[in-house]
Amino acid sequence: MKATATARWLLRKETVLRRVRGVRLVTVLAVGGLSLAVAAGCGKPPAKNASGGSGGGQYKACMVTDTGGIDDHSFNASAWQGMQDAKAADSSVVVQNTQSSSEQDYEPNLTKFVQAKCDLIVGVGGLMADAVTKVAKANPKQQFAIIDANVALSNVYSMQFNTAQPAFQAGYLAAGMSKTGKVATYGGLKIPPVTIYEDGFAEGVAYYNQQKHKSVKLLGWDEKSQKGVFANSFTDQNKGQSITKTFLSQGADIVLPVAGGTAQGTASTTAASNGKQSTIFVDFDGCVSASTYCKTFLTSVTKGIAGSVKDAVVAGQKGKPLTGSYIGDLKNKGVGLAPYHDWDSKVPGALKTEVTQIGADIESGKITVKSTAQPK
């Protein structure tokens, strides 16, 4: 055919325009789905320990974190520390935790532990109070505990901490140590477990001014109006840095961050000042939990969550009923002021004595901390 000759330079065959097709490779797929060990037979299962508990003499303590997560360098972490301490103290204790990614998760996480037959379920954080109340009501035989809230149910052990007391001491100390006459504080969120520190701190500063007729100023919190500076985060270190820098530029030289992991931002900022500025850590002894910045920690206001949780778990394991409310204060050493560590030599002896005396006065009732955030 003539046409073929004409197109010889084009292509040898005429039908060139078949679809350009993809590689035809038939792979027959056996998508079996998840092979779950479901088919274990359908015989009647053996009866389980009806009274709950995992049997075998084990005591199963389970903890639900709030949205801060297990590594929050704050109360979730301390509670978990307490659980592990209990496990170390008594080999029959097994511990578990589950993390909540949103407020919606509190209730199902607590419920799952009920179903997992935990002996004790610990909810961490005041924001979980509603969920604990609800699940505890629905499971009256299940033992619960909650940290930083008071749930008035017979099967819930409420653990609260009057950190206003040691914060009062810290306020007095800060006022006494400030060269600039200005100290500062900020919170993570405006919730009672945070503002209680700030209240106590404010009262401590005020007490110093009253005793010494000075006028050390507190930035970042006003106890009367309950207004102040908040990072709106327990994790954002950058936020902590920027807030701290603002305080420092306003003349403050000692900062009390009550904001979990955000406080690291404050520590790193004051640490850069060669000892001119300092941070007061909260919840833990900062020289232990954030030891890199130890040189900048004047002291720490400690909250004995770990110890209290450990005590509760051990008591539960021993079969003691956990009910009512525990309030950690200076007297029962549930809260306190950490050692001065690197600053020990820089704090005048007289001031140290006064701070200790204030502690004793609070214990004895001679000084009354007024914060309304204090647990009752």
Partner: protein, 453 residues
């Protein structure tokens, strides 16, 4: 975007072909045509089995989605194994006894995924116990109940994104719209001592209005001033939460008495959504409502004149405008509807779940998760429901994984994200499973589109 599903009266091309008057072949080659139509080779000879095998081995939407899930679970398995202490311990002497590592990994993965299943679908052990009367039947339903509870808000926001998507708009604002929905529902829910039934309806309406207005605002900014919805909706998200809501719930009369933190009063019990399987299980009316909403959206898109306009504008706004469809009206309506759907999602949380109150983080991240749900659902209502259920199951199962095998919840987030990544990169899935390219229409186009709308 080409699917028979959405064609009016279309339906998938009739596989039997040529039923008189209705078949697909009738229009192809009447005698008066001059030449034979260029038939796709082999088309006529395809048998039913052939079609099925074809469907499974071609990179069509369904196959790619399923395989994307399989792949994501596979990668998730590696992460689980690597985060397991026993596996890590045995790896220290891997070359001496590799079997230990594999056994440990197998155990870790097995228990984790078993927990994922028992936490979201059904626990065979509980089922067995219930059969023998050792436990209540409601505990058998517990995993499903959890899945449905997590899925409902996701489906709401997923629909909000999907609907806008079909109209060519990228609604990043489902988060803010859900927040406003939660606020609307919450305010109505606690302001008045409601009688039963009416309370629920009123509070829901409050949620729909709250979300709808927030969506409408973005639509109005686009229609009136040409502001791109991606920008405006992101900004409106920030305004809704944390700014507006934090201010609102710390106001006197809104804040829960005796609380210092940002939380509103609790919604009246009569305004709360009724539970589906008894008060012991969390599943509530929300899931029914969002599935109903999905059906409405499906009807809207397929069978209504409005939906026709939405799809036309989404697919080719120029042609739509030329055909007399008002773009501005479409922008307004689409964003209003999208806001209503997201508002339903947000309202369902406040009215359905503890603490039944407005807080700045009450809606979690359902608005952003809704984007992934809509993407996975390919912008289709039914797909969105299925994707929402899947993600709900993954979230419910993640809790169980944590409880029984201490797998961090992040694994579930990784799996969810991977699914969407694989779905968005069909070529990758095709390459891994050596699928043939689909004949018509590029897959994934769906996901890439919409940004310039």
């Amino acid at each position: 975007m080409s699917s028979d599903e959405e064609r009016p009266g279309g339906g998938p091309a009739d596989p039997d072909g040529g039923a008189p008057g209705t078949g697909t072949e009738t229009a192809t080659a009447p005698a008066k045509r001059s030449g034979p139509r260029a038939a796709v080779p082999g088309d006529a000879k395809r048998t039913r089995t052939g079609i099925v095998i074809d469907a499974l081995t071609t990179a069509n939407t369904f196959t790619v989605t399923v395989l994307a899930i399989v792949l994501a679970l596979a990668v998730g398995a590696v992460v689980i194994a690597l985060s397991d202490q026993a596996v890590l311990d045995s790896m220290k002497y891997f070359f001496a006894r590799p079997g230990d590592t594999f056994a440990a990994a197998g155990h870790a993965i097995g228990t984790a995924y078993a927990a994922l299943f028992t936490g979201s679908i059904v626990d065979p052990e509980t089922l067995n116990e219930a059969w023998w009367g050792m436990t209540s039947w409601s505990s058998v339903l517990s995993p499903i109940s959890e899945t449905l509870t997590y899925a409902a808000p996701l489906i709401g926001t997923g629909l909000a994104v999907a609907l806008a998507f079909r109209a060519g708009m990228f609604n990043i604002g489902a988060q803010g719209q859900a927040m406003m929905g939660a606020i609307g529902a919450g305010l109505v829910g606690f302001m008045v001592p409601w009688p039963p039934v009416i309370g629920v309806i009123a509070a829901l309406l409050g949620g729909l209005v709250g979300g709808g207005l927030w969506g409408l605002l973005a639509g109005w900014l686009k229609a009136k001033f040409g502001a791109h919805e991606v920008i405006t909706t992101i900004m409106l998200n920030y305004i809704a939460a944390p700014s507006f809501v934090t201010w609102l719930v710390t106001q006197h009369g809104v804040q829960q008495p005796g609380r210092n933190d940002p939380i509103s009063k609790a919604v009246e019990p009569n305004a709360q959504l009724p539970h589906l399987f008894g008060s012991g299980l969390r599943a509530n009316l929300a899931i029914i409502l969002v599935v109903g909403a999905a059906l409405v959206v499906s009807w809207l898109l397929r069978r209504s004149t409005l939906g026709f306009e939405f799809r036309a504008v989404g697919s080719n706004p120029n042609a739509a405008r030329t055909a007399g469809i008002s773009l501005n009206r479409t922008y307004l309506l689409v964003m209003l509807f999208a806001g209503v759907l997201a508002g339903l999602g947000g309202a369902s949380i406040v009215l359905g779940n503890t603490p039944n109150a407005i807080t700045p983080s009450v809606v979690g991240s359902i608005g952003f998760d809704g984007i992934t749900v809509a993407l996975l659902g390919r912008g289709r209502p039914v797909g969105t429901v299925l994707a929402g259920l899947l993600f709900g199951a993954l979230q419910a199962g993640a809790g169980q994984m944590q409880v029984t095998s201490q797998v961090p919840i992040e694994v579930s987030t990784i799996i969810q994200s991977l699914i969407v990544i694989f779905v968005a990169a069909p070529a990758l899935v095709r390459a891994i499973f050596r699928l043939r390219a689909q004949r018509v229409g590029a897959l994934g186009q769906n996901l890439a589109k919409g940004w310039n709308g």
